[in-house]
Symmetry: none
């Protein structure tokens, strides 16, 4: 069908230009000389304009109309591609350019103000700008919910990151998480209160950490070093992964006194990168050939970080390599002490430093706040108070200041409302994937203990990566596990793992 | 005038997108993982297509028509902007988008094949890809010569790099160069035949060379290190400079046993970078706010490299700093020996390592080959043989293999036919600029000896950089020096310098 080929040709241009945009953005985060900021902002804003023009070209609307009339002639994959383009097209064409421009203007102001407010612990400085960002996000979501036919405002925001999910589904699973994670975290903290993990803050020169990082990617099968590498590692302030199929790059921030931070950042970002590289190669340059959702993406990064990287088996395998890289200097403890140190559970203030057990609690705080904010149960000005109350209730800690509290994350300043739940959904999906993988490969951890990671990555590839965006996340998870969304497997996994490790 | 503002708004978009293209291209040369080649080629080809569409939008034609009817209402700068857009528009509208796409796709393939062929001394591997690039270049030039009304194919190629110049003008000046440089090179080689410069190949660790490189850019006033830097240094196979005003980057290749190579690469590329950064700031984002030509560009890089960097005064100033960076290890010779070593004249195989005297002879070889290739006097398959014959005749040396012969440069793989002459034109312009600068600042070298480089850079900035593209290169040179193109000042300069240095 000619119309289909024409649509895919246009979509390929859109995707290739998007990948060029990612390179320009990557350059901004990595190597741009400081004076180049204004030019970079011109480049990024222009590329976004061109992408918007491409995506809203009326020719696309005509092609979609024609293809939808002839739906029966399309294969399942073709139908999916048409569906995905329709979804984007309707949304992009319905949002007034004026609103896009107002959001484009407000976002850098909110971000800049947030940075200053965070640096000076001054919530009142940020509040009016956040208020504007909330109102603009609401304005956009009100249009999007119409277009998508979603009756609830915050559900429509969630749908942008996790197609098809609702806040009531999330509330149900997150309540279960909370009910079992809060006591588990307490038990872990109690059991480890005398444990000395201070050896982890030994100074490891950055040059050695770079070698460890490259080795970790190689162990996972994410190639950043060979003559045929499709990946690389660069150093930034806030780590991220970016790229498309054959060119997917991760980033890291090294701290001399915290090699564990780099190890887990590398394992996490490598999980993202492997997903992007292993998407179905037949679908390259088509709409279906992208990641299924933010939650599924996060499940892949958290699988390599936690299920693999924090398993006693992986740590036992990797410990001699760490010693080799540091000429025996690190770690100067036995296997069991090392494993415990890398799996210390301790309620803390900062989400991105949280352990495997308490992490989801940080997310639940943010989810409940977003949900209540967009159903007018709380106001922007109440955010610090609500934040602090929830941290006290769920994590049992007092928030000493807003810098380490409500001001810690960049997401809200960027207008990314609905994004946070993806992180905990990633954990929930991982529990479900792990349960199924154990059935398929009961001995998987024995392989990991020998450094055989490929079978695990291949399982993820064959079950998750290769499906790309063929299914909505809930459908994908059901295909893989046979189950609907449930936090139970994840909770069973963490309870079993941590009670064994800390002996309660 | 509304039409003028509209035209400039469109042109700004074109320039900003061009700067984004440069970043994507820079990424290709610096950090792209090897597997990303095909995606990169899609990105570059698409961006070129979009630039082509922007540049050939019929609205531009209408605006140009309207502005040309109302020429009298325009200022001189506005007239120049309209002229420059007209020139590009007429050319671009005649080149089919399909040809642009084919060139955009072939170029990375030719480049990648060239890299492999050079590494393995395998001309036959490269030949078929070069053949394709030659044919595509010819196809484009045949259209361009029609549009520009230039009767000769190769003259039209030259015009792309040096607006208005002809191969007969170049032949005339290059013949003069050859006539005086060949005997000068011989005398220098004879006078220095017992001179021992082996101390130059002392091993200097790359990390120290990186520090020297950063220091050299700082000495020249090209900032690659501060919190407000608009420049940076990266490492590549074949050094180049890229960027626009506030973000201009240079590249270098370090050799452990040849610190002089890095020193002169840095001085050379910094000259390019200073030119790009010092273009008239009032003309940013407009057509006139770009470099005048490739030859003028090369005059600026060769001025910092040779007129400044190879002067006895600069070397006397810089020697103690080199010693400091190497803890006194390099160079372990007196000023006079160091100056002579850095000004050794010796016919050699590699253009980019050539000295100030023989350099132009390398260019003359390439110019004659290009001229004869595009007038069908020689074929692509004959290139290695012709190359070797000319090296024997002009430089008196035998070429042992193609890696050190016809495969050494990237230009032809990139389709840059007509580019090479710019390098020797740069030398010729420099002779003319130097003659004038000496009249304006007779004591300039006394300043250089004290490390005061700013007055020289400012002279270049006030006389050359700030004029940007306001004039064609011949007109610019005439404005600065009062003279038409002549190789004599350059020849007088090198003869005087080298006869004094080597005592003949």
């Amino acid at each position: 069908m000619e119309a289909y080929d024409d649509l895919m040709k246009r979509r390929k241009e859109y995707i290739v230009l998007g990948s060029a945009y990612s390179i320009v953005q990557w350059d901004y985060e990595t190597y741009m000389p400081p004076k180049g900021l204004m030019l970079k902002s011109e480049q990024l804003s222009l590329l976004q304009q061109i992408l918007h023009r491409m995506g809203t070209n009326p020719e696309i609307g005509k092609l979609l109309d024609e293809l939808e009339k002839n739906r029966k002639k399309l294969s399942d994959v073709q139908k999916r591609n048409v569906f995905l383009v329709r979804r984007e097209y309707d949304k992009e064409t319905k949002i007034p350019e004026d609103l896009v421009a107002r959001i484009g203007k407000q976002t850098p102001i909110s971000l800049e103000t947030w940075k200053k407010a965070k640096a000076s612990n001054n919530w009142k400085l940020f509040e009016p700008e956040l208020q504007k960002t909330v109102e603009l996000s609401r304005e956009r979501a009100e249009i999007e919910m119409q277009v998508k036919g979603i009756p609830n405002l915050y559900d429509s925001m969630l749908d942008e990151y996790e197609r098809g999910i609702t806040s009531s589904e999330i509330t149900k699973e997150f309540s279960e998480l909370r009910a079992r994670l809060v006591p588990l975290a307490k038990k872990c903290a109690e059991a480890s209160k005398d444990f000395d993990s201070s050896f982890l803050s030994m100074e490891i020169p950055i040059n050695i950490q770079r070698k460890i990082a490259a080795d970790l990617t190689t162990v996972l099968g994410y190639d950043t070093v060979s003559d045929e590498a499709g990946g690389r590692i660069d150093e930034v302030e806030h780590p991220f992964t970016t790229g498309y199929y054959d060119d997917v790059r991760i980033t890291v921030k090294y701290h001399e006194n915290n090699v564990a931070s780099a190890i887990y950042a590398i394992l996490h970002e490598s999980g993202h990168a492997l997903y992007e590289q292993d998407l179905n190669p037949d679908w390259k340059y088509t709409p279906v050939g992208v990641a299924a959702s933010f939650g599924i993406h996060e499940s892949q990064s958290r699988f390599t970080e936690n299920m693999i990287g924090r398993s006693p088996e992986f740590l036992t395998f990797y410990l001699p390599r760490l010693k080799k890289f540091t000429n025996g200097a690190f770690p100067r403890v036995d296997d069991r002490t090392f494993i415990k140190a890398m799996n210390l559970v301790k309620p803390s203030l900062i989400r991105i430093e949280a352990d495997e057990v308490t992490y989801s609690l940080h997310i639940i705080v943010r989810f409940e706040i977003e949900r209540d904010l967009f159903s007018d149960k709380i106001t922007v000005s109440e955010l610090p108070q609500v934040w602090n109350e929830k941290y006290s209730e769920y994590l049992g800690i007092d928030v000493p200041d807003d810098t380490n509290g409500v001001l810690q994350d960049t997401h809200w300043a960027s207008g990314y409302f609905g994004y946070f739940p993806s992180y905990a959904l990633g954990n929930i999906y991982d529990g479900m994937f792990l349960e199924k993988m154990r059935k398929d490969m009961p001995d998987w951890l024995e392989g990991v203990a020998k450094g055989e990671i490929a079978p695990v990555i291949n399982w993820l590839k064959d079950n998750v990566h290769v499906e790309a965006s063929m299914y909505d996340p809930a459908d994908l998870v059901k295909r893989v596990t046979g189950k609907s969304l449930t936090a139970k497997p994840f909770l069973d996994y963490v309870e079993a793992k941590y009670s064994k490790l800390w002996g309660f």
